[in-house]
Amino acid sequence: MDNPNPSYSLIPILESIRRIPDLQPQERRVVLRELVGACNESDVQALQRILGITTRSGFDMVSVLPTEISRKIFLKLDSMDLVRCRAVCRPWRSMIRNDAQIWKTKILELNPAECSLLIDYKDKDKDQSNTLADGNSGTATTEQRAHYEAILDKISRQHCFLGWEATLIRELALAQNWKQGRLVHESIIQLTRDTKPALLAWPYLVLVDAWPHVFVVPLDQVQKSRLAQIPFTDPYCRTWSFHDQSPVSCLAWDFAGGENLSLALGGFLRTVRIFNPLDGSSFWLPDVHHGFPLQICFLQDYVLSVTLDGLVNYFKKGEDYRLVRSCSVDTKAIQVAAFQFGYKLKRDVNGSSVSWKEAICLAHEEGVIILDEHANTLARIRIKDGARLIHFQAIADYDNSTLNKTEVSGGRGGRHSRNELLILFEEPVTRQRRVLTVKMEPGFQGEISREELPQNVVMAALGRGGDARDSVTMFRDRIAIVSHRNCSSDLGHYCVLRVVDIRRDCVFSTEYHQPEEEDEEEEGEEEDEVKEDEEEIQGEEDGGGKRLVTTMVMAM
């Protein structure tokens, strides 16, 4: 020990050091600590140079820790942090994504009253005796949480279940998108008097002006880019001009078309053009030598046009779209809707059996006429004397499970089937707008009963018909009314969109106004309905000299 030669004390140390590889990691750490502890300032600097790096204090401990511990750490993060952690590196990503327990726990932490997954499930669950905790899940009792967990397990067994991670992300994205204002897409498109903004069919927005030009814009481009003027100069918008067509009197979209997108354009010179907006191909329907087409609609196998003088023409789809039959309804049709029942119906007509599977509802000012695809009249519904029909909605739902899928004779309907006409009309003297519900036989053969809906909120919101240039559209149990007012010069043009829910007797409203000078639009939004399915709400503007602003709001 008392050797004056320094190398004698070095060698044992070096020998010990050479045995370091034999040590366990923990033991090695101890050695390193000793070593670093024994280092002075210059030693540390030398060490840094030898290592070739500057000292950094971090290392990926999360990947190195045992799974239960890293799970504990991840569970202490809130959901948004967890989502971001997936993007750090591959080990973290697979640790988090492969651990269903983490995601499930996070879902359990959500407030059940705000979790759309549970709300959807609750709506479908007929057993209303199960109550979920309101307010914070933090105050839910153990019992409620267990119940909540049982529901989640049930949900996870459904065939449409995407997995816990995707499910949580859907909930978070919903909340986040709503907060960031991305959920309600607003497209403000300046339209001139002659433009028909009539079609909003996912994924395209189709606009037709009077010249006619047809503009087809993919909807997700409308949201991102700022389309302001027609003609659209945006590269995503495709435009067609038809120089041989008269101005457009009506148009319709073929929803039954599937792969083949078809748009029918009716012209004032009696012509109907069928047009494919994707490839631009088009052809004419045969001329019927009657008044110009006022309404067009598509059936599964037919295209229907209804002329101004009340002739209903059936053109069979196929090679040449021949006119196969016509019938006269002797009235001016203000609205036409066609739909399929999804099953075949049968009835007796003069001793022989007739079957049908589609219906066409044709509304005029005094009621609705219902035809089948063979031009037989199924029913005629009249509203009360003096009243004026504004709009209607036909609903033909059926419960597939309880019906014989191929044939049902007249009187039998499915257990949850709903066959109704909802008619929006104006009272004779007061011009108060009201809704009439007419329950129909399956297949819309005849009327069972009718009822004028008494809801107060709805009545007030519907208001009176009159000098306001209102546009109305109906979508199942909801009515959207766009009211335009030209206000004083400082308020400029004012527009209110009201969505009236008949079943729930409530109203959502949004106001827009554009002041006279060229300013930004201001909006006051009161809508708080977030979890709606796709819904089209559409306002048609009526012209009036000045440039009116039509807004289309789509809540997803």
Binding site: R56, G58, K72, K76, L77, D78, V83, V88, C89
Partner: protein, 159 residues
Amino acid sequence: MPVTLTSLDDVKFTVDKEVAERSILIKNMIEDVGESDSPIPLPNVSSAVLKKVIEYCEHHRNDPVQVQDETDDPRKRSNDIEEWDMKFMTVDQEMLFEIILAANYLDIKPLLDVGCKTVANIIKGKTPEEIRKVFNIVNDFTPEEEAQIKKENEWAEDR
């Protein structure tokens, strides 16, 4: 009654039984061994870490023992750490890592919990890039994976 604990590098620590029994592992060992003066060996914990662990147990010697797992009770789910613990946990990442491992091995749930909370608090509110920076993690995603991940997390952006 004092208990002697021996660390991996053969350093002996004498503590009160009450303090030592904050570790369920040690508690069980004492029960198994019975009345004995022989030191309890802890071959998985180095002296530097054991020193810190003992410091924690001494400070928290009078805390009520937790019966159920904290994660069952959502009210305890906050990531608040009391001030003393916060100061206690102000260590380099290496030490933090070792404290967590030691708390796990010794079965000291509150200490493990505080350790995990500390790590969670480091991660909280950071973008993936910031997380990588603080933990010196290499971004090992391919450019295609990066693009996909970016798209995947688009909704999470605050814009």
